[in-house]
């Protein structure tokens, strides 16, 4: 009951947060020099006053700024993301066409990072000081320090250019296959991007999990558990893992926002048709509504992710909610 009440209290706050984000981005994007009509003119090798005026009229850019802000917020309230200037299609369609590609990339990457990272981190902690620990922490440090885009390029050089076993770019062969071969085709294209994205975050989880586990292992109750005679493994599972995983879960919620950044880069390197690259291109084209739409959608995802991690945390450790 308290839980439901908390959820209801959370909703307006979340919505206000998203509206504030929308407003800020609206203001900022308008500060960028240049306008969408100018971009179109530049590409067309032709321009005149009527051309620009017509485009401004079509996109509502000739209205006073205050009116544009209100229109934007009003639309946002009913989740209408407006029209893309560039393609004259609803921003919602443009974005949601490409969200699956980004999810296909980021969700497996995050899961891979959490699962492998946390396991390796706890392993390293229990073997602290041995060569295994050193190996794991060194690898983690290496991957932490490597720029995400460089990893991607290196993987392409190795697996596509030298060994020629994996396709270098894109989500699928451009002459699309259907059915099972189609699925396999996508999976083949998925390997390197996911790996590139996951390696950095994996390193983060290794470090976090290791530090948390070491901390937990040093705590009094673990020694008590040992004293009580519980086997090492049982102790590990019951007490240590649960407490060590807590920071990882908290971190995961925070990282959804960062993953978008990683997505922008990986999608650029691998020509992956997701919303990260969409936002970047839209910014270059000054397709305001699309950029705003992507910000809105990703911020919403972060807010939801934070809520989910909150729930998971409470499930793992019921003491949290009670404080």
């Amino acid at each position: 009951m308290r839980f439901v009440a908390a959820l209801l209290a959370w909703l307006p706050r979340a919505f206000l947060m998203l509206a504030a984000i929308g407003l800020l981005n609206f203001a900022l994007i308008r500060m960028a020099p240049g306008d969408p009509a100018a971009v179109l003119a530049g590409e067309s090798g032709a321009s005149d006053e009527q051309f620009i005026a017509a485009i401004h009229r079509d996109y509502g850019l000739d209205r006073p700024l205050r009116e544009q802000v209100f229109t934007y917020l009003r639309r946002l309230a009913v989740l209408d993301l407006g029209m893309s200037y560039r393609t004259q299609r609803p921003v919602a369609s443009v974005i949601f066409e490409r969200v699956p590609a980004t999810l296909l990339l980021t969700v497996p990457a995050l899961l891979l990072a959490i699962i492998v990272g946390t396991s390796l981190g706890t392993l390293a902690a229990t073997r602290a000081g041995t060569w295994k620990d050193t190996l794991i922490t060194s690898m983690a440090m290496l991957f932490y320090a490597t720029p995400v885009f460089w990893v991607g390029l290196l993987l392409i050089l190795l697996f596509s250019v030298s060994l020629e076993v994996l396709p270098p770019f894109g989500m699928a062969s451009f002459i699309k296959k259907t059915g099972m071969p189609g699925v396999l085709d996508v999976l083949q294209h998925l390997i390197m991007p996911v790996l590139s994205l996951a390696l950095f975050y994996m390193a983060v989880y290794v470090r976090v999990a290791r530090a948390a586990t070491i901390e937990v292992l040093g705590r009094g109750f673990v020694r008590t558990a040992y004293a009580k005679g519980l086997s090492s493994r049982q102790t590990l599972r019951r007490h240590v893992l649960r407490n060590a995983v807590l920071p990882s879960v908290t971190l995961a919620g925070l990282q959804v926002g960062q993953l978008m950044g990683g997505a922008v880069i990986i999608e650029s390197v691998f020509a992956w048709p997701g919303i990260g690259r969409l936002a970047f291109d839209a910014l270059m084209q000054r397709d305001y509504n699309v950029i705003l739409g992507v910000f809105f959608v990703s911020s919403a995802m972060v807010v939801v992710a934070n809520l989910l991690t909150d729930i998971v945390l409470r499930l793992i450790d019921p003491r949290i909610g009670r404080n």
């Binding site: 290496l142 290196l154 922008v264 880069i265 650029s268």
Partner: protein, 278 residues
């Protein structure tokens, strides 16, 4: 479970990290002397593979890669350090105010911080830099405006804890102003953990700058390792050296910074210190 041999490990990491960083800093400072050529000057044929005359090859205009790498250290270090410094300043300001005063001030400032943590940070930096048009200054500002929240949270919790201590009570009773108390009494105790976080943030800033330059958002009058890699995208199959060497430089630099940051962090991690018997 074995006792970690922390003392030896720590000095090992410190040696490597500090050593590498020193070399890079020297490269940055003494670039005009160390670089074999002017990095902007066309000194060789197009796209030459690493060889005797050009140890790391030449790029698509015929400029020496090795010289570019040496000069590139400047951008990475300068941007890494300055944006972290600015960002720490912002974080400390916000966190200390929130942690010290609590209540309404704390709630408002924490909403503000949460706001910045919900926005997808990299996209936001891209947006900021694009608005301000890329330059050394705009990149520093852009990065600083985005990475401060963890510092703010840390400082806030430190202040919240410390404010309740007796010495602060004593200072209040003695009639010291809030400002005095915050700056003179609490801050010196709150800062050490911040240093650990800040040193890691240097690594993040360097990587962020590299990613921005890779995507093309760079100051075209400066040589940046990320920019070198981005510029070579279209030829990276046939001219692998244009992507590999700048990337290695980034790797080594960030690794060095991270090693040092870890050493600093360990110093302030009480559990680890306890286990090391210190």
């Amino acid at each position: 479970m074995q006792r970690p041999a922390l003392g030896g490990l720590r000095s090992w990491r410190f040696a490597i990290g500090a050593g590498a960083l020193l070399l890079i800093a020297l490269a940055a400072v003494f670039a005009p002397v160390l670089a074999p050529f002017d990095p902007w000057e066309i000194v060789g044929g197009q796209l030459q593979a690493p060889g005797a005359k050009h140890v790391l090859g030449t790029d698509m205009l015929g400029r020496d890669v090795m010289s570019g790498i040496i000069y590139g250290a400047r951008v990475s270090l300068v941007i890494g350090l300055i944006s972290t410094a600015c960002s720490v300043a912002i974080g400390v300001l916000i966190g200390s105010l929130a942690g010290y005063f609590g209540g309404f001030v704390d709630r408002v400032l924490m909403r503000f911080t949460e706001f910045f943590q919900v926005i997808p940070s990299f996209l936001f930096v891209v947006l900021l830099v694009a608005i301000m048009t890329p330059s050394m200054t705009s990149i520093v500002i852009g990065i600083a405006l985005v990475i401060w929240p963890p510092v703010a949270r840390l400082v806030r919790s430190e202040f919240m804890t410390l404010r309740q201590r007796e010495f602060v009570e004593a200072a209040r009773v003695a009639g010291l102003s809030h400002g005095r108390i915050m700056m003179a009494e609490i801050m010196p105790n709150a800062l050490p953990p911040v240093i650990a976080v800040a040193s890691l943030m240097v690594a993040t800033s360097i990587l962020t700058e590299a990613s921005l330059s890779f995507l093309g958002l760079a100051d075209p009058n400066m040589i940046s390792w990320g920019y070198m890699i981005g510029a070579a995208r279209t030829v990276f199959r046939q001219a692998w050296w244009l992507s590999v060497f700048p990337g290695l430089s980034l790797l080594v630099t960030v690794l060095a910074v991270t090693l040092l940051a870890d050493v600093i962090g360990d110093r302030h991690n009480p559990t680890l210190r306890a286990m090391a018997g210190g």
